[in-house]
Symmetry: D3
Subunit: 130 residues, 6 copies
């Protein structure tokens, strides 16, 4: 248990490492501080799991939670950490069997949107089907 | 167990108290009647919990359910019943720990949208960050 | 356990029977192949439940999962299999009691959108109320 | 909307039809009254779904909810309404694909326990494996 | 953001206030430290919600989560904080409508067990019925 | 898409690799065949994720699903695949933040039981506390 300032700084560094940008204050600065301090400063820096493995756990959890906006964020984080698109899609396909087809179809739809935006695609063509 | 008409009227009164408007018939008049009759006429009028406490329970439940449209309705209800924005946000922050970060980030995003609409904000500035 | 080709063909036929269209390759051809092969070729063709009963189970599951896009697909499938709008709405109303009001209000909102699109409605009038 | 007494009596009759026994007062007589009155007296007696179809919906919902004690009750109800063991198992197998393997393995374990009790089996032999 | 020691001490005091006992190290001392430090030292001591209101939120969340062991702990906490049995039961009854009958029946079953243990009841008589 | 026999044999081999034992027929031989064939023969053998990474995904999913019996099976599988106890515990601790404290406390309780059985512990001493 170290000093608060050290924890906050460590949290900001891990946040930057995972999401590829600084935490932005936004509308809920206190919740952001808690997120950076508790979640990134303490949990993501604990031993026994690498940052890549923690992203695997986080991406699995948000895919199962079906919160689209969060899911977009963690697909972006996974890509930023060097996970391939094929690997992200593979996690979601496995979750068809561990969380059900609605979870997987929802996850694949969101992944497709994220990939299309990154490609500068204008949509319309690359329809996702169940 | 009183007469149906009394229950229906009591339900309409509680619905008005919670949401600040009359129930509108809409597309599913039978489901609305059941909602007003069972949920508001019987459950919300039972003893041991105040209307404010029942809204605390309902807001917690819809935040955890991650059904955005419902969540918007209950954030509106909470405000109408006199709950402060700070208290609503505080409930959602606590739910980061009892339902997980995806639940809380989703809830805060919806709350921000509701607050911005009430302020006539045109968005753009008040970005929410994870 | 029969030959892969037979299973794939049987899956395509059941998919067509349920959704009223051929499976479209889309962005994830491998997941579509698994879906057609495992889910439609093996599970939907097993004995003891009719295709209509399996749709009842699937529609219940996706309503409870609150994945809107999936829900739209299965409301379409239910209609295609001959389930009436009244029956679809009735399933969702029952789920108010087995999954909670947020689940039902979300499901009824999606059903209304699907029905309105089929009617060529331009919206605005047919507002859904909690 | 009929008189309370009629609704209560109708609810008791449907409860008896579904579970094969009278509702027992137990520890929460008020919740039992609401259950009999709202859920069985009003919802289970609505049109568009047969009692057997409503049990299909309920059994699907409690399997997905993973509340063992409830699940035992609805497997009993399904059997009482004439659903075969094979059909009950088949619903749970389909839910492996719509709710995930944990849901199905849990449901099959509970079903096995219910079937074994009905057979007067003393367990030990009939081990369930994932 | 104050000093770690102060936060830890404040967390221990709130834990004691909520559960009526000191945190016991048990098998996972590090997770207990995080729980006391983050959850009780920071979150439960934040403004805008009283400890009683926070317990209302927590009890709602664990009832919806259907984790029996956790639910027993928070029913105990609610009683320790002065919430009446009637109020605890009333929250669970409301959750029949916001989370579904399986959630409520499960919660009432657990509550009955906790109450019976406190009364030194030996069970057998006080059967809970759906 | 290869021949059924090849897929079945491959599935049995992966099942053996993950759980450290042959699949046992048990009470539902057909569901076991599907599990071995679809889940282990096709999904666990797909590229882009190692068997260890797939166990990380599966363990995360069953921890979030709160199905104790399944969770015991996958903690056993993780150990059999060489994952350390510290790493398993660390995944569950991270899930406190991505799925909520009830999920983590439930997971840690089950992990403790599995570890104690492996150690031949007779319980009583090693109490887990929230």
């Amino acid at each position: 248990m170290d000093q608060p300032t050290a924890r906050q700084q460590r949290g900001e560094a891990v946040f930057q490492q995972v999401f590829g940008r600084e935490p932005r204050p936004g509308s809920y600065p206190e919740f952001l501080r808690i997120t950076v301090d508790h979640l990134f400063g303490e949990i993501w820096t604990r031993p026994h799991l690498s940052v890549e493995e923690r992203e695997l756990v986080a991406l699995t959890a948000v895919t199962l939670a079906r919160t689209d906006w969060e899911l977009r964020g963690h697909i972006g984080a996974a890509l930023h950490l060097g996970m391939s698109r094929e690997k992200i899609v593979e996690i979601i396909i496995q979750l068809a069997y561990y969380g059900g087809w609605p979870v997987a179809n929802n996850g694949l739809r969101v992944a497709q949107e994220v990939f299309a935006e990154l490609d500068g695609a204008t949509g319309g063509k690359a329809g996702h089907d169940r």
